[in-house]
């Protein structure tokens, strides 16, 4: 009885989560330029359109470039900070931890507007690099959280043991800390990458008038003319996110990454 109730409950939540995606998937395989559901005819042409149509292809390339670069920059900011906070006893440095978490926690419009006014005031408004830096700051929270978690899971006596065996600070970092933190580094990158790929408002407020990322492109299409390509891109994005998180789960410990105390073997 209880097991049945649980299944029904899980089923309903699952249906709620998946229903819009099913409808969009249906729309994406319409034969003609219809936004019909159930689809009229069947065609995978709208998926080809993402790569064939230069507008959509450029947006895809822009999005992936932005995500790859900004996630890397976010990692470069988060790694030394998380390492320092783990390695040293410096309470005042926690201010930077807070600063690293704030951009993602505040309503996104606020971070976006702050960056917009900043870029406009300094005269860099509209340049592609501004979007990379903006996204890196906006998403630095994610690698910062995964890395802090990763560092806190390293037994400090491992570092002491390496020191007693003759390793200086640099060697300890290279031979012990880095290999142990690597899974958290990768998942931090993955989180930042996927979220940057999907991000709209910060991208729009920094480079929205000079170039299009995919979310901007979809939004513009939403306002100025529907096409089933919007649906096929959406499905592509869902697939990318599910694949990346699936990989993180396959090679890392997802429950632990999301804050469960320890994995059960």
């Amino acid at each position: 009885m209880n097991a049945l109730l649980q299944r029904v409950y899980f089923g309903l939540v699952g249906l709620f989560l998946v229903l819009p995606i099913i409808v969009v998937a249906g729309v994406s395989v319409n034969a003609k330029q219809d936004l019909a559901f159930p689809p009229k005819g069947f065609s995978l042409g709208w998926y080809g359109e993402i790569f064939a149509n230069p507008e959509w292809r450029n947006a895809l390339v822009a999005s992936i470039t932005l995500a790859a670069l900004s996630a890397a920059l976010a990692l470069l900011i988060a790694l030394p900070l998380a390492w320092f906070l783990w390695r040293r006893h410096a309470p005042w440095a926690n201010v930077f931890q807070l600063l690293g978490i704030a951009p993602f926690t505040l309503p996104p419009v606020i971070t976006a507007l702050g960056l917009l006014t900043f870029w406009a005031t300094t005269g860099f408004y509209g340049q592609p690099a501004t979007a990379v830096i903006s996204h890196a700051i906006f998403f630095v929270t994610l690698p910062l959280v995964t890395l802090s978690l990763g560092f806190s899971s390293i037994d400090r006596s491992l570092v002491e043991a390496a020191a007693t065996m003759g390793a200086d600070d640099r060697t300890v970092f290279r031979t012990v800390v880095l290999p142990l933190i690597l899974p958290y580094l990768i998942s931090g990158y993955a989180f930042a990458f996927v979220l940057s790929l999907n991000e709209y408002i910060v991208a729009y407020m920094t480079i929205g008038f000079t170039m299009e990322t995919l979310p901007i492109k979809i939004f513009n299409a939403l306002r100025y003319g529907y096409t089933p390509t919007m649906a096929s891109v959406t499905i592509l994005f869902v697939a990318i996110a599910a694949t990346i998180f699936g990989l993180v789960a396959r090679f890392g410990d997802l429950p632990k990454l999301l804050g469960a105390m320890s994995s059960r073997d």
Partner: protein
């Protein structure tokens, strides 16, 4: 390894790059935004430096009061819906096999990472006349002809709950996984039914977590900037939508900045109030 206080200047070296980036590209922009909120709008360009309170004075209108009231109401409604749905769900999830948990977590993360644009598009499709859910009902013979379900308040609320639900589950997840399972077992041995054990043991034990989650989802929902615009009527627009609208389409950055500062203050104020009330409730 004992965590030692930094001794030499070079010990601070790792901090230099992160601190520099966060100060230059977050603290300074935030300060810039506050400064701009006191500037005057310049119809020719963005704005011109000044020190006026005009932008804040505009809050004192009935229209603005309505928008603020609606924004808060919507965010509270989303937070409550999400926690009510997510709390039992996450509790049950935390008791399932590891494999099941991982599968759900992947699904939840995938939905969470979806762009608000995509969520808006997906739900507007689902609620539309041509490709909507009502077409299924017509096919099943329940309805005679498909209808459009948006724009409406229900559409906005549904999509925002959809957006915030995975976030809610992931915020609740650590606390629920760490919850000692012997607590409910003890309650069961004392004669409580599973449902009763959940409400008499799990929920009270998680009181602080639930309050913290409500606040976090509330802030998350306050940040929704597109869904009310795509799925609602103008009276369903929230402060975030207005800020975006003023900044981008009306090119009134000083006013947008003033609203943003105001939104931060309201957010922080409500959080502080709730935390304070929580502390007081605990002390009593």
């Amino acid at each position: 390894m004992r965590r030692e206080a930094p001794q030499k200047l070079t010990d601070y070296a790792p901090l230099a790059f992160p601190a520099g980036m966060l100060i230059v590209f977050f603290v300074v922009p935030f300060a810039t935004m506050i400064a701009v909120s006191f500037f005057r709008r310049d119809p020719a360009g963005f704005y011109s430096p000044d020190f006026v309170f005009d932008n804040y004075a505009r809050f004192l209108s009935l229209f603005f009061g309505k928008v603020l009231g609606f924004s808060l109401f919507l965010a509270v409604a989303v937070a409550i819906c999400c926690v009510v749905i997510a709390l039992p769900f996450t509790y049950l999830l935390s008791r399932t096999k590891r494999r099941t948990q991982v599968l759900w977590l992947v699904a939840l993360l995938s939905v969470l990472s979806l762009s608000e644009v995509i969520i808006g598009f997906a739900w507007s499709t689902l609620f539309s006349r041509t490709a909507g859910i009502t077409n299924l009902l017509v096919m099943l013979g329940i309805m005679s002809e498909p209808i459009a379900l948006n724009p409406s308040f229900g559409a906005v609320l549904t999509a925002m709950v959809y957006q915030a639900l995975p976030y809610t589950v992931l915020v609740l997840y650590p606390a629920l996984v760490r919850l000692d399972p012997t607590l409910t077992e003890a309650a069961r041995t004392l004669g409580a039914s599973p449902l009763k054990a959940f409400f008499t043991v799990v929920v009270p034990a998680l009181r602080n977590t639930v309050v913290a989650t409500l606040i976090m989802v509330f802030i998350f929902a306050l940040g929704s900037y597109l869904l009310p615009q795509i799925l609602g009527r103008p009276q369903h627009w929230t402060l975030s939508v207005l800020i975006t609208d003023q900044a981008i389409y009306q090119s009134n950055m000083p006013f947008a900045a003033a609203m943003a500062v105001f939104l931060v203050l309201v957010t922080l104020g409500l959080v502080a109030l709730t935390v304070y009330a929580g502390r007081k409730g605990e002390a009593a």
